[in-house]
């Protein structure tokens, strides 16, 4: 499963967008100026939702401004699993837009890039991509995508004001984290926020723990892909499920966690009604949007493991823009120019304007804005210290679709951690078989 902000209001925005786009299309068409004949139009398919649509619109606008002979029309699709099916169907029928935004990592591998996408390895910008991003949008050393966003960290969003009031320090081991939780609970604040109404938010304890897994068992991803190691039998990997059970059994979860929504979680952490919210760093700007006073109160740390010396961050690569094989001729040339713009410092500036970054950018020459929130600077620190491991889904195509439900069961005491890990292994085996991987 993917992470992403699924916004309820997005259909309204999408309709508005579609309307305004069609209106602009009308007006420029009816003017009938001689420019129109030379003007090339690119279709750009982006997911709806507050973390993607503004990015697509902004990129389209800024690119057209610097390339007056090319017009970019933004087209929207649903996000989540439904969006996956839209992308796959359109690629399979050869009716994909000229350029489209899609995830990197295992979801990118699942759309058969070799068959469906135009490789970008020979473009100049391909050399400017950092080592963390590059493999997540590549198949056999061929790069296919330009990063349309900043890197994200998966860890714990915490309220610095609560920490200051209770005189706590940022934990580097799980024991320190639990000791902090005990003190926070005594002060009457919910130590850990969970929001199981939106199922995808439940997975951070397992997925965000991968840096710790890799630190304890180097080469885990490779063995995992080859079916040599499992969550239930690897002590390091199983810890993620055990910790999820830990926080529930200790009574550290917010009241009503089973029916709380993502938005409620954001506002709770912003207002300090909860101290920790295990989340991705792309939720930092939504928190500040929901509670503007929280800009300086939001901090971020990686999920603590057993060993303070090996403390580090699990990172997610941004989504990327791809060009399908169905784009040809003049359009292909224009599409390549568009990707070159996205993967340039100018593109990063455009991205920043659309949405405050949630971590460092993947393109050489791109800088974080100086006024970035504290939590984003906290994220940046892990990258500066080189204490970053990509999430497992970027290192292995193996990922079970039912992890969110299993995490909810473990996190609400319906199923025990070892049983949850076993069930996830079964789920994973199914996915690997469906992908036709060797050794499963």
């Amino acid at each position: 499963m993917r992470f992403g902000i699924t916004a309820r209001r997005s259909p309204a925005i999408a309709t508005l967008m579609a309307l305004s786009i069609s209106l602009t299309a009308c007006s420029s068409g009816s003017l009938g100026s001689s420019d129109d004949k030379k003007k090339l139009t690119l279709d750009f398919l982006v997911p709806t939702g507050p973390d993607s649509l503004p990015v697509g619109e902004r990129l389209a606008k800024d690119f057209s401004a610097s390339h007056p002979d090319i017009k970019v029309d933004v087209e929207t699709r649903p996000g989540g699993g439904e969006g996956d099916n839209v992308v796959k169907t359109r690629l399979a029928t050869g009716e994909m837009a000229d350029v489209f935004l899609y995830n990197t990592g295992s979801l990118f591998q699942a759309i058969d890039p070799k068959k469906n996408l135009v490789p970008m390895t020979d473009e100049k910008w391909a050399g400017d991509l950092d080592d963390l991003f590059r493999p997540t949008a590549s198949v056999n050393d061929q790069v296919y995508g330009a990063p349309a966003g900043s890197n994200m960290g998966g860890g714990v969003l915490y309220n610095r004001k609560v920490y200051a009031d209770l005189d706590l320090e940022v934990p580097k081991t799980w024991d320190e984290f639990m000791a902090n939780n005990a003190k926070i609970k005594d002060s009457g604040i919910a130590p850990v926020i969970q929001t199981y109404q939106e199922t995808w938010t439940s997975q951070l304890f397992v997925l965000g723990d991968y840096h710790n897994v890799a630190a304890a068992e180097p080469g885990f991803a490779k063995k995992y892909t080859a079916n040599d190691v499992k969550y239930a039998t690897s002590p390091a990997a199983r810890r993620g499920f055990e910790r999820l059970q830990d926080v529930h059994d200790s009574g550290y979860l917010n009241k009503g966690f089973a029916s709380a929504t993502y938005e409620q979680g954001l506002s709770m952490i912003g207002k300090g009604e909860g101290a920790h919210y295990p989340m991705l760093t792309n939720s930092i700007s939504p928190v500040i949007e929901a509670v503007p006073a929280a800009k300086d109160d939001m901090g971020f740390f990686a999920l603590p493991g057993e060993d303070a010396a090996k403390n580090g961050l699990t990172a997610w690569a941004p989504a990327a823009a791809y060009v399908p094989k169905s784009t040809e001729g003049e359009k292909l040339k224009a599409a390549k120019e568009f990707l070159a713009f996205i993967a340039s410092p100018d593109g990063c500036k455009s991205l920043t304007k659309a949405q405050p970054p949630s971590g460092p950018y993947s393109v050489k020459g791109c800088e974080l804005p100086a006024d970035a929130p504290q939590a984003v600077k906290d994220t940046q620190r892990y990258f500066d210290d080189d204490a970053v491991t990509p999430a497992l889904e970027f290192l292995s195509p193996v990922k079970g679709p039912a992890l969110e439900q299993i995490c909810i069961e473990v996190g609400s005491g319906i199923r025990s951690a070892p049983k949850g890990a076993q069930l996830y292994d079964k789920d994973v085996a199914k996915q690997a078989k469906q992908l036709g991987l060797k050794g499963w």
Binding site: G81, N85, T89, D112, N116, S259, A402
Partner: protein
Amino acid sequence: MTTTLGAPENRRARKQPTRTSRGRTRAGSAAIKGAYPFGFYLPAGVVYVTLFLVPTLAAFFFSLTRWTLFDYEFIGLDNFEQFLREAALLKGLTNTLIYAVVTSGMKVVLGLLLAVLLTSQIIGRGFLRSLVFFPVLVSTIGVGITFTALMHPSEGLINSSLSVLGVDGPAWLTDPTWALLSVALVDVWKGVGLATVIYIAGVVSIPREYYEAAEVDGAGPLAQFRNITLPLARPATVTVIILSLIGGLRTFDLIWTMTGGGPGFTSDVIASVIYKQYQAGFYGLSTAGNVVLFLLVSAIVVPLFWFLNRKEAEL
């Protein structure tokens, strides 16, 4: 009484000529074939083949493949094996059966009682009848979203009303023991109108003479209900059971909007298990799941239909 006694004989008598007429039809089939020119059948035939026959056959074929939409690989019955080993499936299967039995049972009981009430001499009968039917007309998704809000454990209207009475309501949709039942209750609320309408038709069609005769014999209202209304509304009961059982077995939209099969897998039904495979991009596997669902529904409904109709004939 005479009509019911005479019924089997009539039936048998009617069957006789049918058999002979069928024989005649077979003999003169060439004549029937020529009744309409071929071109008359063509439009309906094309629609049927492209929209029904081809997809059905394709579904059976793709259920035997590993299918990514880009290409497919024939893997025999592996998908069925995988689907039947799916951990959530057993839970989904029992949940589906519980859901189907609970909803159709409650619809039968409530529907019949409401029908008796709404066929009596009650003030504003037409208005009350339409009121019962109203939820059937509302979109299922809308009902689901509304009740998700009403059933919220701390802020929902249901629990805040209960707390006024001093009752501590359960977390309807997030408590594993309640989730499935809560959705089933909403399903009954939404679907009982249809059952009531079917029963009203059934009850109204019972001749008044029986009631009058029973009254003369000194039967009270309860005896009348038990000995006249209940047995003579049997065709309606059969229809309600079959309809609501099929509806319950393939239920999806209400469960998906209200719990998404959650918390965890506790309110998963077969249809939501299948949908999750589709969502995950396992197209072959989810197609196999649909074939399984098709077989399951047929395996339950066909014998049931036969059984209920036989009983009806024997009456």
